[in-house]
Amino acid sequence: MTTKEDDGSLGAEVSSRLDELFGDEDTDVTPVAIDSSEAVSVADESKTKANAAAKPNVETEADNLTEDSPIRDLKALVFSIDWEITDETMVDFLNETKRLSQRYKDDKILSMFLKLHESIGKYIKAKKARAHPDSIKFVASVYKNFEKVLISPGMKENQKKQLLTAEVKKFKDFKQRVLLRDNSAAEPAEVVKSGVETRVAKPDSGTGMSLETKEAIDYILEQVKKELKAEFHILRQIIKNIGA
């Protein structure tokens, strides 16, 4: 552990130089005290249960969920997908979506939100790490608005519909981007140097949409069409009833 201690004159010299360079910063530095009372391996799986809900981070801004919130597990899974796309995570995500769909089957807007979750979940499960980079962003966005609708009892129906419509639009845009990417090429890397972006690499162009991608998109489209059709049917019924 000698490397973890800066010692002697060299350490002092380096510290002094760093203070000269970065001296007016962090003058009240307080390192965290090390509590070595409990030896835990860096890989100790027993410590890995992230079992509490947290307020969403920068990409989500809704209020905290309560301890017994029914969507707590879904939120944890959305975060997990951001870190790693595994079969296990995706199966859990789809199962949770299914469970919640059953729970909120009488609420058309929530059901639609959950359908969007399911559709994008199935796409990510099919593509895994090759999923479009915007997939995760889309999942986070759909979840954020789903949560907002769910935990805002005072929200008007119109507002809820607006949020849903916005997500459906995002889904359509996302679908277009997936098609574009698969039809042309993987997104080229960019170098950003002090705010100036420069393309530096362009991966080989694809030869067109793979069967797997096409199937996934077709599936998503089909699901969304079904749901929109059902929604329109309900709306027509409502209008009819009002007219009568």
Partner: protein, 201 residues
Amino acid sequence: MALINPKKKEVQVKIVYYGPGRGGKTTNLEYINKKFKKRIQNEMVTVKTYGDRTLFFDFLPFDIGEIKGHSIKVQLYTVPGQVKYNATRRLVLRGVDGLVFVADSMDLRREMNIRSLQNLKENLETFNKSIFNIPLVLQYNKRDLEEEGIPILTTDTLQRDLNSRLKAPSFAASAVKGDNVAATMKKIIALTVGSLRKKLE
């Protein structure tokens, strides 16, 4: 392994900021670059594709002047956090001299912190390096979220999860606000240059 040029009396030190995705690694470098721009006099290079996600790495080089007759050049790197970019992470880790592990204090990120640290340990082993022997500083980032009422892990919990065996210096920080960002960097540079003591003397 630091690059030492005995003729030029020049030492190049590579420090990598490691940790789970969206943990604040890039924000650390951005803060340093912005705050100390005049003193660093170099440009930060970010290689990315989509939006705000680091898919390759960030790179910030600067000089800290002469120490023991050697000109010390520091290079700060970040790695992409998501698991699927492990090949890139390994590539960036090649030749690393010092590490900052940026943990996310958010409650829900607890498991990801642990998995990422384990991933670091494994990746270092592929280069025959031990996480226990390399200069390392832990940073518990996003402490500012507490002020917004967002549940975060206590530093004790983070210490138990991540640092009970490593016993590395650690800092509670907010990269967004800049709290302890410079302190973390100064500590890792001091440790890393300190670890080169024999080679410099």
